[in-house]
Amino acid sequence: MVTYWVSLLAISILLYVLLDGFDLGIGILFGLTRDEARRHAMWGAVAPIWDGNETWLVVTAVILWGAFPAVYAILMSAFYLPLVIMLSALILRGVAFEFRYKAERMRWIWDFSFFGGSLVATFVQGMTVGALVEGLPITNDQYSGGDFGWFSPFAVLCGVGLCFGYTLLGACWLVRKCDGDVKAAAYRQIPYLSIGLLVFLVVVFAFALAENLQIMHRWVERPYLFIFPAIAALAAIVLAVSVERHRDGVPFYMVALIFLSAFGTLAISFWPYMIPYVITVEEAAAPHSSLAFMFWGEGLFVYPLMLIYTVISYRVFKGKVRATPMH
């Protein structure tokens, strides 16, 4: 039962990162252009699906609470201020989708909140993962770092890194969904973003070695972890080739694969801990009666339905976005 819920949690986090990752990334790219036609097309590439993507964040939060309440309590309270900022950013960005085309003179406000919200939310997400990898100050199952205990250069570095990562994912989605100017621009951006991401990964690795982060010992203990960088390297090569040859469909999947291997690396480095070296999956799990109650309804029926629904909604909106002329 615990295994089942930890798997569902992992799938939800991964889906969130991949799906909201690209639409947050497009939000960031949106801020990098002034061209209304290009903005319009970018908007069209995410407008019908963004809320579905964001739902996976809420799903992650409630699975965490229901199935692993101890971890939910520690993480939410430890990352108090970052979460406030991330939630505000996501709200502003979310209502921008509703309001942009209703606004007349005020459109710039929603453009800005779409861009700013996407950027800030991405940065905070990267920073929290960085802080987790570095290790939170925790004593007696309780966070003890104060208001800014999560803050560190390494965490900031991870925040910046994720901005590159999501933006790359976003650019690859645009290549997949759009034509014309937007696609050409995205193709131009992909190499820079990839190099940015690569530089980030190298710096993180060097940093981890220099700081002798505890998590790095996992690599010595579990040499099979090296399969993930290998997969990522392979994906990066295919990415380069597909960008070179303009195979529109391929880059997105390759970047997704890179994210998948990063996710796998982290997950297996953490295992069996949920918060590294503080609380294990077994310790964090809710009592059997709670897990069973969730399993027989939402776990067994609703969750698979949600996955099917996600696939269907992407099939409905498959194909290229055609930017319509402005009215």
Binding site: V62, V84, S313, K320
Partner: protein, 467 residues
């Protein structure tokens, strides 16, 4: 523990949840109203129903969106500010709220997509079915929220293991009699909110001489529905009072403004309770009525606040007044609904401008009633987060600083005020633009697979690859 942080956290929770409840209260009712309209349109084929449907769907879209974004905060905030509560009662509250998210996602989000993008893509019966599923989804959401909150009011079906509240009887939790009084109470409140907003919009259009036919439909349907529902609501509200009487004697005494045990008890209609002197000032009360309301008897003993130690008593002023405001709103709405139904049945609904003005201006009443009802329930539960088991002060994140709580409160206040102002402004503009009667079938309706953004005048149009 920092008392300033505790105070700020409570304010923040009250603020964010009060903001959030506006939208579900509105959209649960609207979803049901949309279902009725769509069913009527399918049955009668009258175009007015379709025009109304399209109009209210746009407003539903804005309200639904604001409800979703303000709801996301809820999924995090309990862990952020109330981490002890979320850890100790997590085994019970976590699964309940996860069911809320899951059912909401499955029904609301899925079929809401069909409502917006699917009119021309699916069969009419399926479109009606989707509307009904959205309504059902919002209802389920409300159900799980009420199960969760009722467990905090009257905990059942649990054992304490290693300090955690571990569920041992989910049937008792989900089918607690408290749930099955409070869930209908909330559901009816939402339906009344929808009904009054619809009726007020109708009154507004009639006052301005616009869309006369549709406006009369709105007035008639809104007020006649309210005329049926409010008496039921008053009865269920009375049952809700019974559970408070039996399970939460301190809350009941605070609502009644009863400081000392009385036999037979009188009923305080209005007064200014004074916590310092433990008495009421300027009280107007009716003898014996208190026993009658509390225990359905002429001679029962009713418990007063002074029978409980001070640290176990809730604040008195807030539940005392919010309860009376709620009932007052209910009675005003009842009067409007009865008069309106009478006028409507005698076909004189548009004749009295004073009545139209009264109906138009009544649209805040259901919201105020919902808010004050919740204030009564939540403030009256104090000083407990989980009644009798966990104090609010002990439920808070122990290391939360006043500084962090102040920053978050300010940020949420700014963000919420900002989006709320725009949300209201855009809803107002949709209402001012009014109903759109189609003269010719728009071109896009004939082409399948061209979803248009809901209320977007020039939103991006998507096309399928193979087209």
């Amino acid at each position: 523990m920092d008392t300033a942080a505790l105070f700020l956290s409570r304010i923040q929770f009250a603020f964010t949840i009060s903001f959030h409840i506006i939208f579900p209260a509105f959209s649960i009712g609207l979803a049901a109203w949309l279902t009725v309209l769509e069913a009527l349109h399918l049955r009668t084929g009258r175009s007015a129903y379709r025009v109304l449907f399209d109009f209210w769907l746009k407003i539903f879209g804005v309200a639904f969106g604001m409800g979703v974004v303000s709801g996301i905060v809820m999924a995090f905030q309990i862990g952020m500010n109330w981490s002890v509560l979320s850890k100790l009662s997590g085994p019970i509250q976590g699964p309940l709220l996860s069911y809320e998210t899951f059912t909401a996602f499955m029904l609301e989000a899925t079929f809401f997509g069909v409502l917006i993008f699917g009119r021309s893509r699916v069969a009419p019966w399926f479109y009606l079915f989707s509307t009904a599923m959205v309504a059902l989804g919002t209802t389920f959401s409300a159900f799980w929220i009420m199960v969760n909150n009722s467990w905090m009011q009257a905990p059942v079906g649990y054992v304490v293991e290693k300090g955690l509240f571990v569920p041992n009887d989910w049937t008792a939790i989900n089918f607690s009699p408290v749930v099955w009084v409070r869930f209908p109470h909330m559901l009816l409140a939402a339906y009344l909110t929808g009904a009054f907003c619809v009726a007020a919009t109708g009154a507004w259009y009639l006052l301005r001489g616009r869309f006369i036919d549709e406006a009369k439909i709105m007035l008639r349907m809104g007020l006649c529905l309210a005329a049926v529902l409010i008496p039921i609501q008053l009865f269920i509200g009375h049952l809700a009072g019974d559970y408070v009487h039996d399970h939460q004697p301190t809350k009941f005494a605070a609502i009644e403004g009863r400081w000392h045990d009385e036999q037979p008890a009188s009923e305080v209609l209005i007064a200014i309770p004074d916590e310092a002197s433990e008495s009421n000032k300027y009280a107007v009360s009716i003898p014996v009525l208190g026993s009658l309301i509390g225990s359905m008897s002429f001679n029962s003993k009713e418990v007063g606040l002074t029978s409980f130690p001070r640290q176990d008593r809730p604040p008195v002023l807030i539940p005392f007044f919010t309860f009376r405001i709620m009932v007052g709103c209910g009675l005003v709405m009842l009067a409007l609904a009865f008069i309106g139904s009478y006028l409507s049945l005698t076909r004189r609904i548009g004749r009295y401008r004073l009545f139209l003005w009264a109906t138009f201006l009544s649209f805040p009443l259901p919201f105020i009633a919902t808010w004050t009802g919740w204030f009564t329930a939540e403030v009256g539960r104090q000083p407990w987060a989980v009644y009798g088991l966990l104090r609010t002060a002990d439920a808070m994140t122990p290391f939360l600083t006043a500084q962090a709580a102040a920053i978050s409160l300010v940020i949420f206040a700014i963000v919420y005020t900002f989006i709320f102002s725009f949300g209201i402004f855009y809803i107002y503009r949709l209402m001012r633009t009014g109903l759109v009667r189609p003269t010719v079938t728009p071109a896009f309706a004939a082409v399948p697979n061209r979803p248009l953004s809901l209320a977007g005048e020039d939103a991006p149009v998507l096309a399928e690859a193979g087209e």
